[in-house]
């Protein structure tokens, strides 16, 4: 064993350099964190607005991400071929279409959030560097989550996402509710992470590896017949479920959602908007990756286990959507209402994921048809995420701007605002209509695609049809509480003596408009086409890698 030769061999290996190149967007964010720190050391934060560095960094990284996204998709014009999946850092991270899609998603969102905080001024000049450090750190964690190819990165990514966001929820540290929210969030998050870690340890011990691409084949070898009578199958089910618990916490899925309303109400609206969209996007990407790692192989036993997991996910998804929608009914705080709506939407999106798992584990096995149908599920999910970004950020941004004017987030205080600030009112209407899923807006297309894939999955397991019906019923339930907000805003008149809201068009109104406009574009314009094309490519490349 000649150590020197090993070292030379590795040094000469180009893969490190290559990995660092591919990792550039994340590196830029890392560097900007350090830069924020250093600037503070030399007291540069006195004269340099703190949002400049994160804004610049996110835009630069976004540029690189967009470029590489198009580069990858330009290279495979037409039918995507399997095997285009590459890895970074000795297989710890996957560099594939989903990674790139989520990078664009997260970095674009980061730029928008930084702009929003810049406009709404929630971290003041003094706290800015701290806030943006946390924001950037958490975004790096999300990007790791979305490209995780290894169970360590899975855990690390979730921790890196969560820990800064605990601090962000408690950022308004002088307020009682804020500190309470942060404390609940951190304890809940730590508990969920502990459960997940235990699941990871079981999975690693069973399969003797932590690499996700290998899991399916190892599990195929391991599982015996006998279903739940087989202790190995039981343990695998438990382990997978424990890992899913950690993800479910991030997604705020039904029995693990308790932190969500409290944290959102206690945190600033900007932070709420950030958490509701970004961590959800990253967690869905990770969920898809994890479930795909379980899929494949040739074992009937693994397939039936996966099917059970998929249907279980579907049931949980239906419960989540129903719970979120019904619990939102009697809320009086807008942020809390949006938090419950976030839960409900996680339910809808989870339905798409459940459909994917069911479709990939049908009696026909992972054949081309199943892959095609599963790809449409992921496509629907990605489309939904893209639309969700705008509609949720729009709603939270409006809440933030209105809060700056009337110092309240209670629904009853919104009376008559639709006439006082017509632009924000109209944008709020569009956002909420899109959240309901009414046709001319993007939310409809997303929901439609998810429901269509559920319908396909119903052919494999009847339970999915039941879930479809519940999902469709839920869109009707959700109508009422969203409309209640609009009714208060538009049909009621502003009470005498209420604080008058004045939101000028530049820059706040323009920002809201910028965020709202894509909802129309993604609902009824040729952009629907190109967006769904992109999503299709990402999805089919991702699924093609399943063996």
């Amino acid at each position: 064993m000649n150590f020197e030769s090993i070292l030379t061999g590795v040094m000469n290996d180009a893969s490190w350099g290559r990995s660092l190149g591919l990792f550039a967007p994340e590196l830029i964010l890392c560097v900007s964190i350090v830069a924020l720190l250093l600037l503070r050391l030399v007291n540069a934060d006195r004269w340099l607005p703190s949002y400049l560095i994160p804004l610049f960094a996110s835009l630069t990284a976004l540029g690189i991400a967009v470029y590489s996204f198009f580069q990858m998709h330009g290279a495979i014009e037409g039918i995507p071929t399997p095997g285009t999946t590459q890895t970074m850092f000795t297989g710890l991270l996957a560099y594939d279409s989903l990674t790139l899609f989520l990078r664009v998603f997260l970095l674009g969102f980061l730029a928008l959030v930084v702009t929003l905080t810049m406009l709404s001024g929630i971290p003041d000049a003094e706290d800015g560097p701290d806030f943006y450090t946390l924001l950037l750190g958490s975004t790096i964690g999300m990007m790791l989550m979305s490209s995780a190819n290894h169970l360590l990165i899975l855990f690390l990514g979730i921790e890196m996402t969560s820990v800064p966001s605990y601090a962000m929820v408690g950022f308004l540290k002088g307020r009682r509710v804020s500190s309470e929210a942060a404390f609940k969030y951190v304890v809940y998050g730590a508990g969920a992470a502990g459960v997940m870690l235990y699941g990871i340890s079981l999975l690693g011990g069973l399969t003797g590896t932590l690499e996700m691409p290998v899991l399916a084949s190892r599990l195929s070898a391991l599982l015996g017949p006998g279903g739940m009578n087989d202790p190995t199958s039981r343990t695998v089910a438990l382990a997978a479920m424990m890992v899913l618990v950690g993800l479910a916490f991030k997604l705020s899925v039904f029995p693990f959602h308790f932190w969500c309303p409290d944290a959102f109400e206690g945190a600033a609206a900007e932070v709420g908007g950030y958490l509701s969209v970004a961590s959800k996007g990253a967690a869905f990407a990770l969920l898809v990756r994890f479930l795909l790692a379980f899929t494949g192989g040739t074992s009937v036993d693994l397939t039936s286990l996966n099917l059970a997991l998929g249907v279980g996910l579907g049931v949980v998804a239906a419960a989540t959507a129903t719970f979120g929608n019904l619990a939102a009914y009697s809320q009086t705080n807008v942020k809390r209402l949006l938090a419950y709506s976030t839960i409900a939407h996680a339910g809808y999106m989870l339905m798409g994921v459940a459909a994917m798992v069911v479709l990939l584990n049908g009696p026909g096995g992972v054949d081309a048809a199943a892959k095609g149908e599963a790809a449409t599920c992921i496509e629907g999910l990605l489309y939904y995420l893209a639309v969700y970004l705008f509609m949720n950020l729009g709603a939270f941004a409006i809440v933030a701007f209105i809060r700056n004017e009337i110092y309240s987030e209670e629904i009853s205080d919104y009376a008559g605002l639709g006439r006082q600030v017509p632009l924000l009112g109209a944008c709020m209407m569009i956002c909420l209509f899109s959240l309901i899923g009414l046709p001319p807006f993007g939310g409809f297309v997303g929901k439609f695609m998810i429901f269509a894939s559920l319908f396909q999955a119903g052919k494999i397991h009847m339970a999915m049809w039941v879930i479809l019906v519940i999902g469709t019923l839920n869109t009707i339930f959700s109508l009422f509480y969203y409309l209640r907000v609009l009714k208060v805003m538009f049909l009621e008149s502003r009470p005498e003596g209420a604080r008058r809201a004045r939101v000028s068009f530049m820059p706040s109104g323009a920002f809201v408009l910028l965020v709202t406009l894509p909802l129309l574009l993604l609902g009824a314009s040729p952009l629907v086409n190109s967006m769904s094309d992109a999503a299709t490519r990402v999805a089919s490349m991702l699924v093609a890698a399943v063996r």
Binding site: I6, I33, T90, A167, P231, T235
Partner: protein, 300 residues
């Protein structure tokens, strides 16, 4: 000193410490018991010849985290004699939930035959009759080995299951580099496909194996490397491998094929570096939160 006795000692200390943390009502005592439990766990790590992890556990956990917690205790003590107690009802409820958890774990983690799993991963969950006979009639096979072979394996029982050309072992072995490398001559896992299925032998689920027995069985089939825990140094010499892995190298895996595919097994350079960024972020965040609040005059 006997290894088993040491294990039981550390295990008892750890468990007792953990239970005491749950039971005690005074937060300072809890902290002390936590030190005991985590120290016991460190002892277990040493016992498992993971000396570096054990040392880290002592340094960071017992030396760092716990001190941090005790600081927390001190900073948040409202009054010297105030006790915040848990009511018996809640204790009852929590005990019930804990019991449920224990039941779940007992039905899964603690009943599973891990050693059989290792054999299965090595492609020995089901062996062809040929391979089995060869192993059984090898020259100089001791009596205990023969008994082990006979008890551990049984003829493939289910006709319908056997009718399939045993699809399970094929891909797993192909994925498993150790197994793929090591089977030199005798029982190629691929053979399973060609043998009439009724003549195959599979692991007997009724016979639980110890890890030593599993290793012995693998050796009998010529696959010891696949089952014996990779290239972990048995004497606890883990610092160098761990350090190399943090630098992105995996000498325990890549030694023989470094030039061919150095980048295939995870070296941990990325997490190592990214965790440092994470720590920086966390420190800034914690400093912000713990800083005295600037009392600004509220507008209202």
């Amino acid at each position: 000193m006997n290894g088993a006795a040491l294990f039981w000692f550390f295990a008892a200390v750890t468990c007792a410490g953990a239970v005491a943390v749950v039971v005690s009502q005074n937060v300072v005592r809890m902290a002390v018991w936590l030190i005991v439990a985590l120290g016991g766990a460190a002892g277990l790590f040493f016992q498992l010849s993971a000396d570096f992890v054990g040392a880290t556990q002592l340094l960071i956990y017992v030396g760092g985290t716990i001190v941090l917690l005790i600081f927390g205790v001190m900073l948040t003590a409202s009054g010297p004699y105030l006790r915040i107690k848990t009511s018996p009802g809640e204790g009852f409820l929590a005990a019930g939930v804990g019991l449920l958890f224990v039941l779940v774990l007992m039905s899964t983690v603690l009943t599973i035959d891990w050693n059989a799993g290792r054999l299965k991963l090595a492609g020995l969950g089901k062996v062809s009759a040929d391979a089995y006979e060869t192993a059984l009639h090898k020259e100089g096979l001791s009596e205990s080995d023969r008994t082990l072979l006979e008890q551990a394996y049984q003829p493939s029982a289910k006709a319908d299951h056997a009718a399939e050309p045993a699809p399970k072992s094929g891909p797993a072995v192909a994925e498993n580099p150790e197994a793929a490398d090591s089977h030199g001559s005798a029982p190629k896992p691929g053979d399973v496909h060609s043998v009439p299925a009724a003549l195959a032998y599979e692991l007997n689920p009724g016979r639980r194996l110890t890890s030593a027995e599993a290793a012995r069985l693998a050796a009998l089939f010529g696959q010891e490397k696949a089952v014996v825990a990779s290239a972990m140094p048995a004497q606890g010499d883990t610092i160098r491998p761990l350090g190399l892995a943090l630098a992105g190298l995996r000498p325990d895996r890549d030694l023989n094929k470094v030039h061919a595919k150095a980048a295939t097994t995870p070296g941990y350079l990325l997490p190592f570096e990214i965790v440092s960024v994470h720590l920086l972020v966390v420190l800034i965040g914690a400093a912000y939160l713990a800083r005295t609040k600037r009392r600004r005059v509220e507008a209202s």
